[in-house]
């Protein structure tokens, strides 16, 4: 978007949002407790709508990080938590971002959660010099738009595609792989990286795209007829579950693998535990319920919310804590600009990975985890770095 246009469009929206936030009743600035200044760490993501659960996983993790930071008692300020619901949609992004920008005590944002909402919100954050660290927006393009205050703590989808290809070629020793996507932006993006990477490693690849449907029996016949040893599905768990059922009914016996959109306990429920057994997933996400490094976090999360941390909870927790470490470093005189500048050189050891960034906001290191369904539960096997030799 051209800058002039941006100002023309964004400025009236900003004014509107300031006026509106007056009715919102959110107190800004002010002091509390022992005379310490109050500053706020915000979260933006879906809190309602079809994808609310994923957003709540992250919202809770940020809440927990803020509570723990305050409880520790060594902050030079009192930290407050606020959130804004963008429903995970591009349309919902800008209003939610404006709501946060309008609150002057918000010095950093964890989020936005989804790629579409992130793309729509970041121009506003850049303009307001407000730091935003996404726990989960994986679209590869996001770091190429020149947003000045955007960072993400997950590697983009192209890292996942490349690492999954290595795992298929070298650990599963595949000779011939059937790669299927669901024709969504996410699925096509992932299969588009996976397939050339597989070919580069000497695996022959058959491609197919199937828009979400219920009846995969004809496709399953095609897969069985193609005599492949591995199937990789780039899409979401509900369709992958039905596809799995159809494949097993058609007598498919090879490896079955999916991406982060497929990795959900609902996959096992909907495919049936018997059919799902042995399915492998690649995911840039750490799983706090099985990773020993995240045991303390998982315990504290469960104590506070009476639920296990979900997908992307650990990443949100890391994003929040890395931001808090910078807020602490900048101290009581923190401004949005100072926080955003200081975050450029953050180096924080989180529970999922070491949080530090290349200049475009991409997290250093590409840790991709491999999971497998064992006894009806999704268990972690390790990172591709550990599992793929040579």
């Amino acid at each position: 978007m051209n800058r002039k246009l941006l100002v023309h469009v964004a400025a009236p929206i900003a004014v509107g949002a300031v006026v509106l936030s007056g009715c919102g009743g959110s107190s800004s600035g002010g002091s509390s407790g022992g005379g310490k200044k109050t500053i706020a760490l915000a979260y933006q993501g879906p809190l309602s709508g079809d994808n609310a659960q994923l957003g709540i996983n992250m919202d809770n993790a940020v809440k927990l990080a803020v509570k723990q930071a305050n409880d520790k008692g060594d902050l030079p300020f009192t930290l407050k938590f606020v959130d804004a619901d963008d429903q995970g949609t591009p349309d919902g992004g800008p209003p939610a971002a404006q709501k946060l920008i309008a609150q002057s005590d918000v010095l950093a944002v964890v989020g936005p959660a989804f790629s579409g909402a992130t793309k729509a919100s970041e121009p506003l954050f850049s303009q307001a010099h407000l730091l935003s660290v996404s726990p989960s927006a994986t679209n590869p393009q996001l770091t190429s738009y020149g947003f000045s205050t955007f960072y993400r703590v997950v590697p983009p989808d192209d890292a996942q595609g490349k690492e999954a290809a290595k795992y298929i070629a070298k650990t599963l020793n595949s000779k011939k792989t059937y790669s299927i996507d669901d024709k969504s932006e996410y699925g096509v993006g992932l299969s588009g990286v996976l397939e050339p990477a597989l070919k580069g490693l000497g695996v022959s690849v058959i491609h197919d795209g199937i828009p979400p449907t219920k009846d995969y029996s004809a496709e399953a016949q095609k897969v069985v007829g193609a005599h492949v040893d591995t199937v990789y599905y780039s899409g979401y768990f509900a369709e992958f579950a039905l596809f799995t059922k159809a494949l097993k009914a058609a007598g498919y016996k090879g490896n079955l693998m999916g991406g982060d959109g497929d990795k959900d306990q609902q996959y096992v429920v909907q495919a049936g535990a018997k059919n799902a057994e042995g399915t492998i997933f690649s995911c840039p996400c750490a799983d706090a319920t099985v990773d020993p490094k995240a045991a303390d976090f998982a315990q504290a999360y469960k104590a506070m919310f009476n639920a296990d941390p979900g997908t992307y909870s650990p990443e949100a927790y890391d994003a929040a804590n890395s931001v808090i470490s910078i807020l602490k470093q900048v101290g009581a005189g923190a401004t949005r600009q100072k926080v955003a500048d200081a975050y450029k050189s953050v180096d924080f050891q989180g529970i999922t990975k070491e949080i530090k960034f290349s200049p475009n906001g991409e997290v250093a290191g590409t840790t991709i985890f491999i999971y497998q369904v064992k006894n009806g539960k999704i268990a972690v096997l390790g990172t591709t770095a550990d599992l793929v030799k040579g």
Partner: protein, 308 residues
């Protein structure tokens, strides 16, 4: 690649889809026959049958997969409950969404809007009440290969659908051809005004037609859920496909709906083996357009009254 290696296998999955389309298509065609109206809420009648059957079998099946006689009983029970729930919803639909409009001689467009409104209402109330995630049907039998035809495996799922569909289709054919209700349906379809002058209670016939269509649609919903799963929006795609099947065979024509459903299912599945799966619907609807270009009234022609 095309057709060669799994022709019979694909034909069998096509027939299985096609029988479900046919059962749903009958609901559209019967109602069109007596009212010249497409009941767009019929896909939600189908969905409600899926949920009705699901809840009953969920309550009865434990953690173990039943087999033998208890499998047969459970499937039978599920089909009956699905049909009854579908029939009741269709009955209520007619009372609430159509009859008041008919009383006021509303224009055809009002019926269409009323149907779409009822459909959206039912989808969303189901989504709110039962959640938006797909719910798998508990295993009522172990799905496996039963026998082979021309080297293609026929699975338990297919056998269950085929037997259930065949019984219902024969039952419907006899009902329309031989019973008093069937006579009424045919009379109203041929000429509603004359039928009324001859002493046919039009309101009752229309109501009963909705119920018959709902029974078939609800049973189809349970069978569909058995093979795939049950979800608040499960009716949408099969509903559109079944409507297509009804038009393909000749809307208002009972045998046409069955033929249209089977043709559509088989063509769709065979087509997928020739091109990428994304073209599945393009093939299905391309065939529809072609047939309608050359035979605007569908393969077997329109009108319930004349052909049945």
């Amino acid at each position: 690649m095309c057709f060669t290696h799994s022709f019979w296998q694909l034909t069998i999955s096509g027939l299985s889809d096609g029988m479900l389309y046919a059962l749903i298509a009958l609901g559209y065609t019967l109602v069109y026959g007596v009212l010249q109206l497409i009941n767009f809420a019929h896909s939600e009648v189908f969905m409600s049958g899926g949920f009705g059957g699901l809840f009953v079998v969920q309550a009865l099946v434990g953690s173990k997969t039943p087999h033998g006689a208890s499998s047969v009983m459970l499937v039978l029970l599920g089909v009956i409950v699905g049909a009854l729930v579908g029939g009741s919803i269709a009955f209520i639909l007619e009372r609430v969404a159509y009859r008041p409009l008919r009383r006021r001689n509303a224009p055809k467009l009002a019926f269409l809007i009323s149907a779409i409104g009822a459909s959206l209402f039912l989808v969303n109330i189901a989504g709110k009440q039962f959640g938006r995630l797909a719910i798998p049907m508990p295993d009522l039998y172990t799905n496996g290969n039963v026998f082979s035809v021309f080297g293609a495996d026929v699975q338990t799922n297919f056998v269950v659908i085929a037997i259930a569909a065949a019984i219902m289709l024969v039952f419907l054919d006899r009902l329309v051809a031989q019973t008093r209700l069937g006579q009424g349906i045919r009379a109203v379809a041929q000429d509603a005004d004359t039928a009324s002058l001859m002493g046919v209670n039009i309101d009752r016939v229309i109501s009963q037609t909705f119920v018959v269509g709902g029974l078939l649609g609800g049973a189809a919903g349970f069978l569909f859920g058995l093979v795939f799963n049950v979800q608040y929006n499960m009716g949408f795609t099969p509903g559109i496909k079944a409507f297509t099947a009804a038009v393909l065979g000749g809307i208002g024509n009972i045998r046409g709906a069955v033929l249209g459903g089977l043709v559509l299912g088989v063509v769709e599945n065979l087509g997928v083996s020739c091109v990428q799966s994304a073209w599945r619907d393009v093939i299905a609807f391309g065939i529809l357009v072609l047939v309608l270009l050359f035979r605007p009234t569908g393969i077997l022609g329109e009108r319930l009254g004349r052909s049945a």
